[in-house]
Amino acid sequence: MSRKQQAATPTSRRRVIKVAGAAGIAGLAGCASDSGTSTGGSGGTTTLQYWTLFAGGDGEAMKGLVDQFNEEHDDIQIQRQRQPFDEYYDKLFTSMTGGDAPDLAVFHTPEIQRFSDALLPLGGMVSDGTSDAYVDSIWEETEFDGDRLALPLDTHPNGLYYNKDIFRDAGLDPESPPTTFEELQTAANTITAETDKQAFNPDPYLRFFVRQFIAWQNGRGGDFLNADNTEAAFGGADGIALAEFYHNIANEWNWDQADATNDRGTKAFRSGDLAMTINGTWYFGALQQQEFDWGMAKPFVAPGQSEPQTWANSHTLGVPNSSDKQAAAVEAAEWITQNSLLWGTDAGHLPAAEGVLDSSDLQSATVWEKTLSTFSEMAQDGQLSYMPSTANNENYKRPVNQAIAQIYSGQLSPEEGITQAAADVTNNLQG
């Protein structure tokens, strides 16, 4: 399948596997048909350039939304352009500084802040009642220093995905996935002993460790950064305890291989060789294509989760302030974010629009029973951890991802790795 992706993105300079895996839903073929259904823009039609980073199931669903929009609108047409996931923000930044920005673009909430100087404040452009259309907690994530800089499309938390067939083979109850660290130990040890499969992997891409690490750190009652985001706060006992958990999974308990090669986990899970892994909402689309029976549960399986949390992020739509089609872009952003049923039913994300989230169309869909009801429950219980917004989130993402990858592959001791990562993060934040 990834070969088809390769063919679909010939300009990608990065390792194809990385790109495909990062998108998370590489399993779908024919995903990268980029052309919107533009009518050519004559006769008073405004044509918007819209940049996204969605591939696979996400890409299909977004294409569907854009097609719907274009069908319903004569005066505005959207031209969708998909950029490779790994290079998306680099390209967006270059386009926005080079004066050739799109009219509308996707932003993850923690990335909004670093583009804040170049984004149009939407306060005056959306109606007063607009805020009522969105789930409050997600709506709040798109405001920076009093400015509304984007409209939220979804929230996409992490869950624990597990292969029910492997559970059955190991003699475990496929309807009782582990809910605590102790239960994870029992399940994973049983799978390791009874089958030839790998039991558990905490990040199937093996390069986004920081996501769930932050959530688990919060779940232990600890902090990831200090209150004003100027220092690392994870270098103490809680962080080291978590680092030991990562170390033990691959180096002591034999639940997984001590190998942090990118995307190894997602390949293994999709081919039915891995029993449990932690991944985001988007996994629904990819797993529906697989032949094995799977389920999803809350990922509160790290040690010491007294106030359980899971990682979450939101896709939002923002308008670069250099656009000369701002009114049309805002209208399109409102329409897409508030008519996002496909985004839930097909891409598997939790829509940010109240009307869509509460609709019977969504709640009677397969995805609701399979994953979204559980995600929705965690959202309502306040168990979502968003990553901190800093001037540049690379400052903390990279050191932590790198350190945990080395701890996982047995090249650094947990204490050494986490202490070094904390020092690097503090140094970067203050640099």
Partner: protein, 306 residues
């Protein structure tokens, strides 16, 4: 415009008519190059220096804050920067001597009267025509831990072959090996041409005087090829100090920062951290290093015949 003025001034002086037309023609011929040089090299060079003195605001350049040498002070105090310097020097040490030595060995070998000379020449040079992305993706596949051919065959001899590109110890040597395979052809061609330029009569004279092969190599081949070797070494030093594409594609600077070279770090600082001023300062550091290394190279390797 400038040439006309200069020409007018020159023509007013007595007895310089010939110089006048020669100078004018010379300048006319130089203008196309000078334009390209000015727009694509000189201007960015000066602009970079200017930016390195600011806390550069990429979205609103006019709001950039002048901070004099603060970017340079920060650079000296930045541990990640020094890690990048060490990684770069390591890469240079791994590649440059091998590339020059191997290039020379291949050139001298192919210069012998052996069968299939033409074929070998093509084989040695052919990787050089590939682009960096093709080379990097191909070698990344070769090194792949589970399905890569290298580890597939190694598994016949050892139980747990390393995950090359994810290993602290092997990632940089692995990138260096790919680079050597890719670019040695360039040195090979230059050095082969230089070797073919050495007059055969020198070797004949040496043979008559009873010189050994080693002696002929040391006292004829090396001195005669000195300029070419110096040229190749300088070009290679510059290329290796500027390594980017291979590490960007094969390792993305990892594991840890072990393959994060200077240009890789510069790229991250500029486009991920959005700090163009600081990135420009790092670029200037590299520029100064390269000028210094080239000068030293001219001075010591180049010797008197340059």
């Amino acid at each position: 415009m400038a040439t006309k003025d200069t020409g007018a001034i020159l023509s007013r002086l007595p007895g310089v008519d010939a110089v006048d037309s020669e100078a004018r023609d010379g300048m006319l011929f130089a203008i196309p190059y000078l334009l390209v040089f000015g727009v694509f090299l000189l201007y960015p060079l000066l602009k970079g220096l200017y930016m390195s003195l600011f806390d550069w605001n990429a979205f609103n350049p006019s709001q950039s804050e002048f901070i004099l040498a603060e970017n340079y002070v920060r650079m000296v105090q930045d541990p990640t920067f020094w890690k990048a310097v060490r990684a770069t020097v390591f890469f240079v040490l791994l590649t440059v001597p091998t590339l020059v030595g191997l290039g020379l060995a291949l050139a001298l070998g192919v210069n012998q009267d052996i069968k299939g000379k033409r074929f070998l020449r093509t084989v040695f040079f052919s990787p050089y025509v590939l682009t960096v992305s093709v080379v990097s993706l191909m070698w990344a596949e070769l090194y792949a831990p589970e399905y890569g051919p290298l580890n597939y065959y190694l598994e016949f001899f050892m139980s747990n072959p390393p995950a090359w590109l994810n290993s602290f110890t092997f990632a940089m040597p692995a990138v260096a090996l790919a680079t050597i395979w890719w670019t040695v052809g360039f040195n090979f061609v230059i050095l082969l041409a230089a070797r073919q330029g050495v007059p055969e009569r020198l070797y004949e004279a040496a043979r008559i005087d009873g010189a050994s092969t080693w002696r002929a190599f040391r006292d004829i081949t090396l001195p005669q090829m000195r300029s070419a070797i110096m040229f190749v070494t300088t070009v290679q030093l510059i290329a290796s100090f500027q390594v980017f594409g291979q590490v960007y594609i094969m390792t993305n600077g990892g594991p840890g920062d072990s393959t994060q070279t200077l240009v890789m770090y510069l790229f991250r600082v500029a486009f991920r951290q959005q700090e163009f001023g600081y990135a420009a300062a790092i670029g200037y550091f590299l520029f100064v290093v390269l000028v210094a290394v080239s000068l030293i190279n001219y001075r010591f390797v180049g010797g008197s015949d340059t």
